[in-house]
Symmetry: C2
Subunit: 284 residues, 2 copies
């Protein structure tokens, strides 16, 4: 888990950094970006950001405008790449919604992919371990966009001891019910759809899992993927039945892009910062 | 000058838009992006942003985080591409610092380029005309980064009736004295170095031109191009002799990247907004 610093850029009073390391989980090199507020010795908390299809570790950290809102806080943000790279598995580089750039944050079980596409464990175990050991953060939360919003919800619902707070922009809330999820889960997990459900936020909540805290979701109403791939209302409906608290802001006129994220990232970051503060108060 | 809207994304309460049009000046299609604050009927002012080498109309508008600071104001920002595209002139696509993506905002006189690489006139005349006629802005200012900072200073010094305010990040202030400028000006303007001086901010000030208002420059001290290509101090020195007011913020630890720009863009936008207000007060 030796981190190699690829580059760093002073941003506000902190540093935007790009790292690479040899991952034990994926058996490949993995990259991530991070924003470290000015005084690194003050870092107490870390938000994990999971990006969407076709993205890398660069998209969020260059486009969302998050740094200004974390500058001067005790909270860093870390943005892993969206899949292993440098492999040449069958079908890995054929389409934008499967393989490279499209891990869906599952532990693959299909031949070839099962040895590397273990992004669920990479985030929940290896990245979490790096955050604690290399950056000294004690409390960790998770958020993401689209495929990464799906990842944040699934990881946040299943790893409640690890993640203090969960939020998502434009998440794929019910992947087993849409084309993107069906294709990806079939490719990574095989034909048994029962195996897919543990990677589906709506199904996880339906199964009885719930967090005590509130999930925060922002969803643009002019999002070109809302009706066919995201299905936000499916999660709202099961959450209502199960008692899982969720705030969904449906935003008139906004689409699926980083321009949408940049508009509301401040609210999400404040939601996470507040959750860290509340957890701190509980501990003390 | 019919504008074709390529896409628009709601951003804060306004819209980030991408346009294309057939340029009379460059005899090519030209693209630009723009952020239009919520109520377009309220637009009074427009800032032109000129980007640096290798950039397109996309870099600034996706990375700088400017929209949040213009939202709710009467001021839009417009970001043209950095050169004509779609040609195949001799040597045009060979290197990053000449030809496509590297116009240096001059009116080329060399064979082939003279028919298309007329970016000085494109900005000063055609884009200014579009801003007035298609967007209804009355007052216009200019800023830019690196090669675009050079462009902003040169256009701002020479077109004082057009531009209310001028600022730059990491500008190439004395292009005739550095490799980037020598290569580009030789290619666009030929061998007579006297012809180069009208596109060199330091030489323009040295020749006696000055603006009544103050130029604002931000320059990172860890900028990898500072010593060999930017030469900020050359402009500071001639400005001091000539009486041209200039504020240069040398910023410790910052480099040439958009992370630097995102850190200080708020200050530059406020500088321009204040200049528009002052000009408004002068008129009334």
């Amino acid at each position: 888990m030796r981190l190699k610093l690829l580059k760093k850029n002073k941003t506000f009073s902190g540093e935007t950094c790009f790292y690479e390391h040899a991952s034990e989980v994926t058996q490949t090199n993995m990259k991530f970006s991070a924003f470290l507020p000015g005084d690194r010795s003050q870092i107490q908390n870390c938000i994990i950001w999971l990006s969407g299809l076709t993205c890398t570790e660069e998209n969020f950290i260059t486009k969302a405008g998050a740094q200004q809102f974390l500058d001067g806080t005790n909270t860093m943000i870390i943005c892993p790449d969206t899949s292993p790279r440098g492999l040449n598995l069958p079908g890995e580089h054929v389409s934008y919604d499967f393989g490279s750039g499209a891990s869906f944050y599952v532990n693959a079980t299909s031949p070839g992919y099962c040895d590397h596409y273990r992004m669920y464990d990479y985030i929940a175990k290896e990245l979490v371990s790096i955050i604690r050991s290399d950056f000294g953060a004690k409390k960790i939360s998770i958020m993401g966009h689209s495929m990464g919003g799906h990842g944040a919800l699934v990881l946040g619902l299943r790893e409640q001891d690890t993640f203090v707070c969960v939020s998502a922009f434009s998440p794929i809330v019910n992947p087993i019910a849409v084309d993107w999820g069906e294709k990806a889960f079939h490719g990574y997990l095989g034909e048994n759809k029962e195996d897919w459900k543990k990677y589906d936020a709506t199904e996880i909540i339906r199964s009885g899992v719930s967090r005590k805290d509130t999930l925060l979701i922002d969803q643009g109403l002019s999002d070109e993927f809302l009706e066919k791939q995201l299905l936000t209302q499916h999660l709202v409906d099961v959450a209502k039945k199960s008692g899982q608290k969720v705030i969904v802001h449906f935003r008139e006129g906004y689409d699926h892009s980083y321009f949408f994220i940049s508009t509301f990232i401040k609210e999400h970051l404040e939601f996470h910062l507040k959750a860290f503060l509340m957890r701190e108060a509980e501990i003390n």
